[in-house]
């Protein structure tokens, strides 16, 4: 039984760290100093994806969310595999179109001297002559923790008291990057509904977080592109985008080469459900710290739901 503990934190003060996400390593380091040695040694922490608090409806195979729900301030139930990923894509296609969607899902930026921080909330004021106060969009960070199989039952769930008030990113000793725990739930991956993956003949793999190909970190292996990524099948749309990043451990900074997140490749393996489960607990170097998170999709689906509407016709 593989269990993951999903966590949703409110962003309680401006954030100065990695712009794409709060890295799993930053979250791991913040949690590790508050837990016992067994927990510290056995847990793995995903990257934290920024989520706006807004009304929305399920997309892309998610089944557990009621249309028009308030999202981003709680963790919806997870019944199907796709439900795991509701908050994992920064495009957040569930955000309702009844408000200016791109304004809701764009980080409000703040300037502190020569650096740009993500504000903890955006304020949308109203025209002066209308009723009602300014609308406030607050932000959250979504991540999940799992533990080595032999101690998982003992370690998870991590206590909510331990998790509240973590600080991540730059300036965290000066009040930046404070996270307040909003919600927590434990999910068994084996209990989820994988029927959409079973039903499909072909699949694609989406890199939800970067996949490490090389790391300066002591003892880290270099990795080639997994054989079950059909990169040749992707050649018509260019090569894989690579990106260099860093892993900070105490005083030391290690360069890490990655294949960047957000890209998709055709799946060339033979067991998409097993790959899907492994992709949640992540693959490759530094997977304990959030790298190598993958999502498997039926090949016929499109992560842009409107393309489906367009193919089905309808008036422009």
């Amino acid at each position: 039984m593989t269990r993951v503990q999903q966590l949703l934190f409110g962003v309680a003060s401006p954030y100065f760290g990695h712009p794409y996400f709060v890295t799993g390593h930053a979250l791991y380091a913040a949690i590790a100093r508050r837990v016992d040695a067994v927990t510290r040694r056995s847990i793995a922490v995903s990257h934290g994806v920024f989520v706006p608090c807004a009304y929305g409806s399920p997309v892309d195979g998610a089944v557990s969310v009621r249309p028009g729900s308030k999202l981003g301030d709680s963790l919806p139930a997870v019944e199907a595999y796709a439900d795991l990923f509701l908050y994992r894509d920064a495009a957040h296609r569930w955000v309702s179109a009844s408000r200016p969607r791109d304004a809701t899902n764009t980080h409000p930026l703040q300037q502190y001297r020569d650096r740009v921080a993500f504000a903890d909330a955006a304020l949308f004021s109203r025209p002066a002559d209308t009723e009602g106060a300014a609308r406030r969009v607050s932000w959250a960070v979504h991540c999940y923790v799992h533990a080595d199989d032999d101690v998982s039952d003992a370690v998870l769930p991590i206590s909510e008291d331990v998790l509240d008030g973590l600080r991540v990113g730059g300036g965290r000793n000066y009040g930046f990057g404070e996270l307040s725990l909003l919600d927590s739930q434990v999910i068994a991956l084996e209990d989820l509904d994988y029927s959409r993956l079973h039903a499909a003949d072909e699949h694609r793999v989406e890199l939800v977080t970067p996949y490490v190909t090389a790391s300066e970190f002591p003892g880290a292996d270099s990795q080639s592109v997994p054989w079950w990524w059909d990169v040749a099948g992707r050649a018509a749309t260019g090569g894989l985008r690579r990106r260099a990043t860093r892993l900070v451990k105490g005083e030391d900074v290690y360069d890490v080469e990655t294949i960047d997140h957000g890209q998709t490749v055709p799946y060339a393996g033979s067991d998409p459900v097993a790959t899907a489960r492994n992709g949640v607990t992540r693959v490759g170097t530094h997977s304990r710290y959030g790298f190598g998170e993958l999502r498997v999709r039926p090949a016929g689906t499109d992560r842009v739901p409107e393309r489906g509407e367009g193919r089905a016709g309808g008036d422009a």
């Binding site: 920064a90 408000r99 304004a103 930026l109 020569d114 740009v116 985008r241 990106r243 957000g262 409107e306």
Partner: protein
């Protein structure tokens, strides 16, 4: 396309008739620059025909890149202004009418009228394309009162790019988002009609012939797909490895779905960087 006037359909390869249809693209939304709905738009502006239907469905397809299908609904109640709402305004994004609405209602003879004239009056469509790429006035106007973060500047450039690709015989599904980069101070790579954005560091193109430029397919049908397409690019046109400010921009572009909103965001972000010098985006940061 039954309502497209047949004389406006430019045949590909024929410079004369092809050029006529490109002029229509740059002149088709003058009524928005003047703060009027299409039904109340004038047929003429300073002696040239404006607000005409764009052939080959380019206007409708470009609209679907930034707006949903179907009947539009107000996303900011009680606003009713053509003035674009900027996304890049710090934590206090003022999504409200800020009083000064003259951009959307410029007179024919005023300074606004002169600014519009530079964008539509010339008979040289390549010159009009260059004028739109560098224009500031249409960047202040949204492409729909219902979708106030969209930009009529980038809507128009997308219409032109689609039309130029379509008149050369390409379908939407043949098109790519392509990027090129250049050193600050050097001249950007500009493909007539197909370059949709130029910044001091890079340019963005919509074309059926990306060559060896980093490029990603737009997909088989037009949709608000910017974040998806941008995220699939095999390379981004700035150095995200070295500078956090480019990672901030990249992170935002993975979130923005409407094409004209995203292109306008890039323009505003890079303009803020540029005016702040090579170091930090201080001056002009709060647009």
């Amino acid at each position: 396309m039954s309502d497209v006037p047949s004389e406006a359909l430019g045949a590909s390869g024929d410079a004369g008739s092809g050029d006529v249809s490109m002029l229509v693209a740059y002149r088709h939304d003058v009524h928005k620059l003047r703060g009027r709905s299409h039904g109340h738009g004038a047929e003429q502006f300073r002696g040239v025909r404006v607000n005409e239907s764009v052939p080959l469905g380019a206007d409708g397809d470009a609209a679907l890149l930034s707006r949903p299908r179907g009947r539009p609904r107000d996303t900011l109640p009680a606003r009713e202004s053509w003035r674009r709402v900027p996304l890049l305004a710090g934590a206090e994004a003022v999504l409200a009418d800020d009083g000064d609405d003259d951009v959307g209602d410029v007179g024919d003879a005023g300074a606004g009228g002169a600014a519009i004239a530079e964008l539509v009056v010339s008979d040289d469509s390549v010159a009009l394309h260059e004028a739109w790429l560098g224009a500031s006035v249409p960047a202040l106007v949204s492409e729909s009162v219902y979708f106030p973060t969209t930009s009529v500047k980038y809507h128009t450039l997308l219409v032109a790019a689609l039309l130029d690709n379509y008149r050369a015989g390409n379908a939407f599904e043949d098109l790519w988002l392509a990027v090129t980069s250049h050193e600050p101070g050097e001249v950007a790579t500009v493909v007539p009609h197909r370059t949709v954005l130029v910044t001091p560091w890079f340019a963005v193109h919509v074309t059926a012939e990306p060559g060896d430029w980093p490029a990603a397919r737009l997909g088989d049908v037009p949709a608000r797909s910017f974040a998806d397409v941008w995220t699939r690019l095999p390379d981004v046109p700035f150095d995200v490895d070295e500078q956090r400010r480019w990672r901030v921009l990249d992170a935002q572009l993975r979130r923005i779905r409407a094409w004209s909103t995203a292109l306008q965001y890039i323009e505003s972000f890079t303009a803020a960087l540029d005016s702040g010098g090579s170091g930090t985006p201080v001056a002009g940061w709060s647009v």
